[in-house]
């Protein structure tokens, strides 16, 4: 029993240590009479914790470990996505360190909340049980509600936080109710077998066919996920929240939250049973198609750069769904799942870089960057202009960038499973998206005018922009190792 507990604890060492380390700056602040320490201090503590957590998680990789009576699972997918989440959190901290809205008097609180949210995500990706999944989602979301409201001057920030909070709570309640219904019908909330009771994955085939209550429960759980990853018709909060939140928080939400939720979503679908329910596939296919369409068409009419990227992130959820549907409803789970992970990985770099670029132009908290403000940017800041060009072309899926290979992979997963319809709509949407991804480039290079001033002192943010553009090209040209990596990860799932 004792050794069991020890083994259980080992699995959660990274998140426990990370929690304690990120809490230290807050304690220091309290002992100093509520005086905010130098922002470097929480940043360094955060980095130290994240580096330790990443290293420890990576060291535990290989094979499958379970803990806490199977409720937590440490397999390829969870190790891989935890590392991605830690990395994105570190980048989020870097952006926040530079940004006017977050650097202010509450930076230690900010770091603590951001890291706690990341801990929630790590729990989410490791969850092998719907209850733990729920705990992960809630930990992640509660921190995010506050983070979104963090900007002191920006009025939109409060509105966004409130909207996100109310809608998010609804979604969580529905999610929880769905779990209850599933537990009531299946007798378990575990994804895999536990104490002789077959897991959800094993029962799905039987239950979907005969049990309406189970189907309703499953639908509610899917709805909960759909809200978190902004799928149609639960996407409406995204533009407002992404626009209102401080840009570093938006960058973090758009990348890490999406990655974590999609991995948990993938676990729910890790079962052969789904391939026998064509109705559900039809529904999800249409959700994916409409998500892509709404995102891309919505982005065309926007002028605010942050809103464009918000709609683009809705569209990208749709592309990721293509991979997920190929995994869940096809004959072969692995290729679709690997394509989804690869897509999330490529999407994270493109989106992080783009939001970092926006952060670079926000002098005050309540400034909003329109596309037209980029006039002449290409001539004024050539390196930055080139980076933004690469980021936009990658989001549009032009080869040889990482974004192209991400799309190539998900579409090929769909074609492999004979889901031509889905791949066709993905392609049509890629064409639509080209229009608005080209707009910043057009404005930046082809229109006369003086661009807004860049915050030249924000070194870490600039580094993020340039580095992500570089990564997009380099991994784009050398995609092979990354593809091998995600395949290996999925093989361990």
């Amino acid at each position: 029993m004792n050794t069991d507990l020890m083994q259980d604890l080992v699995v959660v060492i990274p998140i426990s240590v990370l929690f304690i380390v990120s809490f230290l700056p807050l304690l220091i602040k309290v002992f100093r009479g509520n005086q905010e320490p130098n922002p470097l201090l929480p940043l360094c503590y955060g980095f130290a914790g994240l580096v330790f957590a990443t290293g420890f998680t990576a060291a535990m990789s290989g094979g499958q470990k379970t803990a806490f009576t199977n409720a937590i699972i440490l397999d390829g997918a969870s190790v891989w996505s935890s590392c991605l989440i830690y990395f994105l959190t570190a980048v989020g901290l870097m952006l926040a360190y530079d940004h006017a809205a977050t650097r202010g008097r509450q930076f230690s609180e900010f770091c603590f909340l951001l890291i706690s949210s990341a801990i929630g995500m790590v729990v989410l990706v490791m969850a092998n049980d719907l209850i733990v999944t729920f705990i992960g989602i809630e930990t992640m979301s509660l921190c995010l509600y506050i983070l979104v409201a963090m900007s002191r001057e920006e009025i939109l920030s409060k509105e966004a936080a409130f909207k996100y909070f109310v809608l998010g709570s609804f979604a969580s309640a529905i999610f929880l109710y769905g779990i209850a219904l599933m537990w009531g019908t299946a007798g378990t909330t575990y994804f895999t077998a536990q104490n002789g009771i077959p897991g959800l994955g094993d029962q799905i085939e039987k239950l979907i066919a005969v049990n309406r209550v189970f189907v309703v429960g499953l639908g509610m759980v899917i709805l909960g996920f759909a809200f978190k990853v902004a799928l149609f018709p639960f996407h409406a909060w995204t533009p407002d929240v992404y626009q209102g939140a401080p840009t570093p928080v938006t960058a973090f939400m758009a990348t890490a939250v999406k990655a974590a939720s999609f991995v948990a979503f993938l676990r729910l679908f890790h079962s052969d049973g789904y391939s026998l329910s064509p109705n559900m596939m039809t529904v999800l296919t249409w959700i994916a198609v409409l998500t892509m369409l709404i995102g891309n068409v919505g982005a065309i009419v926007q002028n605010n750069f942050k809103r464009i990227l918000a709609y683009s992130s809705i569209a990208h959820s749709g592309y990721a769904m293509v991979g997920l549907i190929a995994a869940a409803f096809g004959s072969d789970f692995n290729e679709g799942a690997a394509s989804l992970l690869f897509y999330l990985f490529s999407y994270a770099f493109m989106t992080m870089g783009s939001f970092a670029l926006i952060a670079l132009f926000e002098k005050n908290e309540n400034i909003s960057l329109n596309v037209e403000d980029l006039k002449g940017l290409g001539r004024k800041y050539p390196v930055l202009g080139l980076s933004l060009t690469i980021l936009m072309l990658s989001l549009a899926g032009i080869p040889p960038t990482l974004g192209f290979f991400g799309k190539f992979y998900v579409f090929s997963a769909a074609v492999e499973q004979d889901m031509y319809w889905l791949a066709f709509w993905g392609v049509i949407n890629s064409v639509i998206s080209v229009y608005y991804y080209l707009r910043p480039i057009v404005v930046m290079y082809m229109k006369e005018g003086e661009s807004v001033e860049m915050m030249t002192s924000h070194l870490m943010t600039r580094l993020t922009v340039v580095a992500s553009a570089l990564v997009i090209v380099v991994i784009g040209l050398l995609a092979s190792p990354a593809i091998r990596a995600v395949r290996a990860v999925i093989a361990m799932m």
């Binding site: 032009i398 192209f404 392609v427 995609a479 091998r484």
Partner: protein, 521 residues
């Protein structure tokens, strides 16, 4: 020996060099580099065995083995002259834009070299995905070229160009992915290697649209038909041509359009033989419509550049019908016409650019009597016009004659209509020449405040190689066609079961197979 890699990838290095060079040196350095590149590509002629139909100088390195994608370059009689056309036009364009481009010249020349790399790469790529990468990559520099250095409506034109091309090429991407999985089902492993894809037997049902081969055929055809552009997908072309700066128009007309017609020869006809033969009439019909429509619309254009743009639609119609005649004359003529069009339309755009630099106007009505004011310019323009309307002894004649002969053998009706296009072509070109160069002096010509100067030495130097080619290709077509003969015959004779080997010859011309195998490696 990695000649092909060198001529594909060196321009990318050149682009970086240009960015690092001091501003005053950019043009001379660019000229030298592009001449060096041309010299290097001429080296291929020395290594190329013109009796062989096989893929030569092949280089194959795995790129993304997980999907069977490789960095696979090779050259044969079909791509040989197109590659040389690209490397030939680049120095001409650099010299031709010496004074026309004055805004951010570094960026311009860097874009030019990236474009060259992408164009050469797409002619040499023998891996479907690699081809797609180059095919799409070529959009980006052209997009900037039109968008930054273009005319008034440049942004509209460039975005339209980009999106039109994307629509087709993404459908092609899906088709490529499908082919890669079909290869997995037959060969046991996913691959985008074109030589393997040629061996696939893709199921075809005559008279039914919803079968794999027909759908794939149309997916590929759409991508290439937009690029060519074939009527009715041509609407992006006049916009892009008119708004593009002169060098952009030259490369767009001279080379980029050929990426489409080359795609038909390299992918569509050999990969989908049954569908190509079944639906050849569609392309013959649309090709003929394009010829007549392009010529009629060109006739009424008030703007010289737009007239040349529509003449491209008409000329590319010939390329299309020659190809889909699916016989040796037709395909040879079509290949030759691609080169002719590159030379003569490229030259026309350069000439239009030269006069535009002097008057800042392209309106035909404002000219007249230019022959007296600019004699050298007039002589050159008339020579190129003769080439464009296919007067015997010029290159255009050989191409159109072969195409019409091939089409007549295949489908008499289409050939008869296409012949009217030759007449119409003469009408719109000669009428334009009459209005611009002869008759009473127009307002721009007699404007005393801005006297017109005849071509200077640089501009003549730009035109000389093109004029030489016009006559060389017109008088000695075999100097060029001999090199492509084996490949074209292999394509036409084995069109039902096309095979291409890297090094070893196919059955049709087996005699000297062993020699080539040694050379190829």
């Amino acid at each position: 020996m990695h000649v092909l890699s060198a001529i594909t990838l060196l321009p990318l290095g050149f682009a970086i060099l240009i960015c690092l060079a001091p501003k005053a040196w950019v043009r001379p350095v660019a000229l030298l580099l592009s001449l060096f590149e041309f010299g290097l590509s001429l080296g291929i002629l020395g290594l190329f065995d013109k009796k062989s139909a096989a893929l030569q100088l092949a280089e194959n390195i795995p790129w993304i083995p997980e999907f069977g994608i490789s960095y696979f370059l090779g050259i044969d009689g079909i791509s040989l002259w197109l590659v040389l056309l690209t490397t030939f036009l680049t120095p001409i364009v650099v010299l031709g834009s010496w004074t026309a481009i004055d805004k951010s010249i570094k960026g311009f020349h860097a874009a030019l070299f990236i474009l060259q790399a992408a164009m050469v790469g797409s002619f040499l790529a023998m891996d479907a995905v690699l081809f797609y990468v180059f095919f799409e990559l070529s959009l980006v520099p052209m997009y900037f070229m039109v968008g930054i250095w273009g005319g008034q409506r440049r942004i509209y034109a460039t975005v339209k160009f980009f999106i039109f091309t994307m629509v087709g090429s993404l459908m092609m991407l899906l088709a490529i992915i499908y082919l890669m999985f079909s290869a997995r089902d037959t060969v046991g492993q996913m691959t985008a290697n074109l030589l393997t894809l040629y061996q696939l037997k893709i199921p075809f049902v005559a008279g039914d649209l919803m079968n794999p081969q027909t759908l794939l055929f149309f997916a590929f055809s759409l991508a290439f038909a937009i690029k060519v552009p074939m009527f009715p997908f041509h609407t992006w072309l006049p916009d892009a041509h008119v708004e593009a700066p002169t060098p952009g128009s030259v490369l767009l007309a001279g080379v980029m359009l050929k990426m489409g017609s080359y795609g038909f020869l390299r992918f569509v006809i050999p990969l989908f033989p049954e569908a190509s033969q079944q639906y050849a009439w569609v392309f013959l019909f649309l090709g003929v419509v394009g010829i007549v429509y392009g010529a009629l619309v060109a006739m009424v254009q008030p703007d010289v550049k737009k007239l040349v743009a529509y003449s491209s639609v008409s000329h590319m119609g010939y390329v299309m019908i020659g190809m889909f005649a699916l016989n040796t004359y037709g395909v040879t003529g079509s290949l030759y016409q691609m080169l002719n069009h590159g030379v003569s339309t490229g030259a026309l755009f350069l000439l239009v650019g030269m006069i535009y630099e002097r008057t800042h106007s392209r309106e035909i009505a404002r000219y007249g009597g230019l022959a007296k004011a600019l004699p050298i310019f007039t002589i050159l323009f008339v020579i190129i016009t003769m080439s464009s309307i296919a007067v015997p002894m010029t290159n255009g004649f050989i191409g159109e004659f072969l195409i019409l002969m091939g089409t007549f053998a295949a489908q008499k009706g289409f050939a008869i209509v296409a012949v009217t296009g030759v007449v119409l072509g003469a009408v719109y070109m000669l009428w334009m020449v009459k209005r611009v160069f002869f008759g009473p002096a127009g307002e721009l010509v007699k404007d005393e405040h801005h006297p017109l100067h005849d071509l200077n030495a640089r501009e003549i130097a730009v035109m000389i190689p093109l004029v030489i080619l016009v006559f060389w290709m017109g008088l000695f077509p075999n100097h060029f066609l001999d090199w492509s003969k084996a490949s074209v015959e292999n394509l036409v004779e084995n069109k039902d079961n096309y095979q291409l080997s890297a090094g070893v010859k196919p059955k049709a011309v087996q005699v000297q197979g062993a020699v080539v195998a040694k050379d190829g490696k």
